[in-house]
């Protein structure tokens, strides 16, 4: 379990806090979505939940982060890496820059953890299979398209098999097929007990994937609840978040007194 309690965070060298009094709890096997307008603090929250803020980038944290019962404050960054990984949306920065092939790139994480060779290879193969990267394993990581590089970046994190995975806009560069692929991979990952926090604009993706959604605005959690409840909340528009197509249409039908029950079955069928 990953838990943030009463967390406020200020970046090093800045006078104002950008996160205020955040409470967040991720249980094993849970997939939680994080939504909010840009510059509301989604990325900062991802950094803080991974422990890298402040362990790596400094700054000051009030409140606490606990990982599986262990407070994060005492942990070195490589110890954090054994428990929780965080991925960002820019595939260029997620790449190590030293791997000659995609297979090596994905293998670097487990290798760095000091695992024996068989274990490293096993984990790499599993990550490659999860994200269907089989055809790319011999390619040069520098020569991939943005979408391919993003998938490799995610695989590189999954290969480390951490208990907690935090992803900041993991499908930004992906086409609809890639987005669906990532959704399936993450669902199966949660099925084996990994907890996931995913920050995304694509609410349709989150709709099918998450059990719970958190909405953040100006550094505060303003909504926290089951997916359907949050996505039906009329405050989303004011927050600058586009609800998923399903929720949007249901609300439009209700507003215009169109019989929702007539279309509900169509919705259920069409949205699958």
């Amino acid at each position: 379990m990953l838990q943030l309690s009463g967390v406020s965070y200020r970046y090093a060298g800045y006078s104002n806090e950008v996160l205020h009094d955040i409470d967040l709890r991720l249980d094993d096997g849970e997939i939680v979505g994080l939504i909010g307008p840009n510059e509301a603090g989604k990325s900062t929250l991802c950094l803080v939940a991974s422990g890298l803020a402040p362990a790596s980038i400094g700054g000051s944290l009030r409140g606490s982060l606990t990982l599986d019962g262990v407070p994060a404050t005492g942990l070195a960054t490589h110890e954090l890496a054994e428990r929780v990984v965080v991925g960002f949306q820019n595939p260029n920065t997620q790449r190590s820059g030293i791997a000659a092939t995609v297979f090596e790139e994905i293998a670097l994480g487990p290798m760095n953890l000091g695992l024996p060779v068989d274990e490293t290879v096993e984990r790499t193969r599993e990550a490659v299979a999860r994200l269907r990267l089989g055809e790319l394993i011999r390619r040069d990581p520098q020569r991939l398209s943005g979408g391919q590089a993003q998938l490799v970046g995610i695989a590189s994190l999954l290969a480390m098999q951490p208990r907690h995975v935090i992803l900041d806009e993991p499908t930004a560069q992906l086409d609809p097929a890639g987005t669906r692929l990532v959704g399936e991979a993450l669902r199966s990952l949660a099925g084996s007990g990994t907890s996931l926090l995913i920050a995304e604009h694509k609410t349709d993706l989150l709709d099918g994937l998450c059990s719970r959604i958190l909405a953040i605005d100006s550094g505060r959690i303003v909504l926290d609840g089951p997916t359907a409840t949050v996505f039906d909340d009329p405050r989303l528009a004011a927050l600058g978040v586009e609800p998923p197509a399903r929720a949007r249409l249901v609300r439009a039908f209700r507003d215009r007194a169109i019989e929702v029950s007539v279309v509900e079955d169509a919705l259920a069928g069409a949205a699958s």
């Binding site: 991974s50 890298l52 990984v85 920065t93 190590s96 820059g97 994480g109 000091g114 060779v117 490293t120």
Partner: protein, 185 residues
């Protein structure tokens, strides 16, 4: 420079004279020795560069005990230039799409330096923090050695040649020290 030493070494056996300068056998001897030494050094460096795959070299060093962090720095340095070239090419396209003239007068092309070089440097610098975070996430900072996936192929023949060369080196040094190294007449 080496030729000059033919004339400038103090010596007694004069071979020929050009103006005020005497070419001596001692000078020729010295010049010859310097040439041979320079040749030996530059050839060995060249041979090393031509026969050694840089990545394999770094990884083998790590296998023999070099810290993974040093290995990372070495490998990243090797990859830095191709990565930057790739980046520069995309930047070039984007700026040309904004009307930057890369084929016109020299003045026009000079004005293009900042829009072409600026983003390379700026984007590299701004990416540094996120890059290093991503590295930490993947445990690059973990102390202790790791079990490398790579194995450098090493045959018995190579081992024999290496041992032979090493013994020859010992013999050469010993010969030089004890003065029993064969000399030219």
């Amino acid at each position: 420079m080496i030729l000059v030493s033919v004339f400038t070494r103090a010596g007694t056996h004069v071979l020929f004279t050009i103006g005020p300068f005497d070419a001596t056998t001692e000078g020729v001897d010295f010049a010859g020795q310097t040439l041979v030494r320079l040749f030996a050094i530059s050839t060995s460096i060249g041979l090393f560069g031509l026969t050694t795959e840089p990545r394999s070299f770094v990884l083998d060093l790590e296998r023999r005990g070099l810290s993974p962090r040093f290995a990372f720095v070495a490998l990243a340095t090797l990859e830095a230039v191709p990565a930057m070239v790739e980046r520069a090419s995309i930047i070039g396209s984007a700026q040309r799409a904004r009307g930057l003239d890369t084929e016109g007068s020299l003045r026009a092309r000079l004005r293009g330096v900042l829009p072409l070089v600026g983003p390379v440097i700026l984007s590299s610098l701004t990416e540094v923090e996120e890059r290093s975070l991503a590295l930490e996430v993947r445990a690059f900072g973990r102390p202790g050695h790791r079990h490398l996936l790579w194995r450098l192929p090493d045959s018995t023949a190579q081992l024999i040649v290496r041992t032979g060369l090493f013994l020859a080196l010992i013999a050469a040094i010993a010969g030089r020290i004890t003065g029993t190294f064969p000399r030219l007449p």
